[in-house]
Symmetry: C2
Subunit: 345 residues, 2 copies
DNA sequence: CTGTTAGCGCATTCAT
DNA sequence: ATGAATGCGCTAACAG
């Protein structure tokens, strides 16, 4: 506990947290000089700088960012909204954002929307209250009220994961319809004809629906369709993939390949095959999406599409940092995807 | 874009972001009354409240929290430091924290330390700058400078995951040495005698070392020891578990059970067994730690210890919210663990 | 139930 | 290279 004296009338006031003025007094300079040293701004004599730095050290001074943000109306804060923490994809995005921000002293303020635009709206409101310099959203699905708020404030906006609609400012991601199309073409080229599909809740994950649509388009081009489908409620998981494939197969339709809404589900499907004694690829081929590590590590590497979530986050954050204000026109950054042929399809 | 007029000299100044004074003017009340309505504080006449709320709506007013925090010196911010986003355990903790905070309008400010106390120190400094009301740290391993900073500020502190040292204020977690001990006792009771161990970097994960120590203690009680060990660099992963078990077995020591530093590694080990044609449990038993979903979904459910990360985060956040200031004495909250006997050991 | 006064801690804009 | 004056937008502590 520090004890700093104030006032010339002999009264001693104890404050536990020193402020810039205390640093300045101890260093024998004005507050603004101390401020400049702390922020590494403007030309400062070497000797002065050192005295201020010593004072900072001695007092354990930590600047008050709320005051700084208010005075400078710049917060060095970036708001981030992700739909979920359960799906490892989004922590990956966060990692990318964090890496990009860490170097430049920015801080991420994170909110989780649970895939609900109304929750997104509430979080946008509460994040905007901190005057972030930019906002990173997931996808294009926002309420009108959200769009109005974003318009009122001058924050730069990035929308992540998708690129198939017109972004507010900048979109960073990949084309999910195209990914679905690629999956279909690949599997058709491989000779598969009897397609099954295992999905999770579309309300919870619009992008998996886009891939599904792309897949169907590819099949339609060859006069094919999806023979049997099964959907589970709520977020994707390995267990649900496993159970869903079991349910799908119980429908009794003859299938030679099953496409899954993502790798979690597909890994579950793989594990069902192992447990049920089905020869993966020969009896039944499997295809996922995301390129998770677990898929690679399976005894038969999962055939899937790899998307670089880390890079999506990193590039989005970098892009936002290099802009000084809202751009005049929209930018779309397609980070692409890679079809990884494993041993399951 | 809003257009508000200011000044009586006929000059029109356009501001894009309305402030409390604008709301007050439009509602025909004083700023402080508007402030009270917005914050839901104090007794306000129903009619007044409604007029203010309408003005807020009409202007799209969003309060400036930096100003609010400065004026009230309370931020409704909780700083959170986690070691990693790669390990799913920590997003789980974050979920718990988020759930607890969401209800009460608090916001989490998250930093990632990469298991490095010096990085933790830097992040603590930059988080303290925002005057958080509490800080959630992971583990007990902090630098002296970090401890000094925490002492200077009056923030409440929670330390998560471990409970085997004296916390600063409150610790929420489980006893890792005890978990290791339980693993050892269970396996010995099951008749296993020839123990192998597969671990990842201890510098990166002190808690896995504590479990290892507990395991060895249990073995020592029965005159046993660990026959062969293998460690990989860096964070744990399925791939590393798979490769590490392969390397361990190449050492040629006869083993009947292998304990892994966590489930990621153990799942990798399982997949190696499948690929190598080893009968899990009969040829080689496997044991993990964490209770991840993937372990349950394997054809042979992984034997492991389940820890409720979500609950750790939730309880810690709740505890911090219910405290108004730093408590006089330390509290340890043991959320315990459950040994889940699967089919691998 | 509502308003007045004052100031939170810092950074901007000009001076010197 | 350094400093003085001023205000960022809001809320605490009183009054009425």
């Amino acid at each position: 506990m520090l004890a700093l004296s104030f006032g010339g009338d002999g009264v001693e006031i104890k404050r536990s947290v020193p402020r810039l003025a205390d640093v300045a007094r101890l260093a024998g300079v004005s507050p603004i000089t101390a401020s400049r040293v702390v922020r590494g701004e403007g030309p400062i004599a070497q000797a002065t700088r050192q005295r201020v730095l010593d004072a900072v050290q001695q007092l354990g001074y930590v600047p008050n960012r709320a005051a700084g943000a208010l005075a400078s109306s710049s917060s060095k804060l970036i708001g981030v909204l992700i739909p979920s923490l359960t799906n490892i994809v989004f922590p990956d995005v966060l990692r990318g954002i964090n890496v990009a921000l860490a170097a430049s002293g920015y801080q991420a303020l994170v909110g989780v929307t649970e895939y609900d635009p109304r929750i997104e709206q509430e979080i946008v409101a509460s994040l905007l209250a901190w005057n972030p310099e930019a906002l990173i959203l997931t996808g294009f699905d926002h309420t009108d009220a959200t769009r109005r708020m974003l318009d009122n404030h001058k924050v730069r906006i990035a929308e992540l994961m998708e690129i198939d609609e017109t972004p507010i400012d900048v979109a960073v991601g990949l084309s999910h319809p195209k990914a679905g199309l690629e999956i279909g073409r690949h599997l058709i080229a491989k000779g598969y004809r009897k397609f099954g599909y295992v999905g999770h809740d579309w309300r919870a994950d619009r992008r998996s629906r886009l891939r599904y649509d792309g897949l169907r388009a590819a099949l339609a081009d060859h006069g094919l369709g999806i023979v049997a489908e099964h959907y589970s409620e709520g977020p994707s998981s390995i267990q649900k993939g496993r159970q869903s494939l079991a349910s799908l197969l119980e429908q009794g339709r003859e299938l030679d390949v099953v496409v899954f809404s993502n790798d979690d589900m597909a890994v579950g499907g793989y594990l069902h095959c192992v447990a049920a004694g089905l020869a993966v690829r020969d009896d039944l081929a499997l295809f996922g999406f995301n390129g998770l590590e677990i898929g690679e590590a399976l005894p038969h590497a999962l055939s899937t599409i790899y998307s670089d979530r880390f890079r999506i986050g990193k590039i989005a954050a970098e892009k936002l940092l290099e802009q000084k204000s809202r751009p005049a026109e929209q930018t779309i950054i397609d980070i692409g995807f890679v079809l990884r042929e494993g041993q399951t399809a």
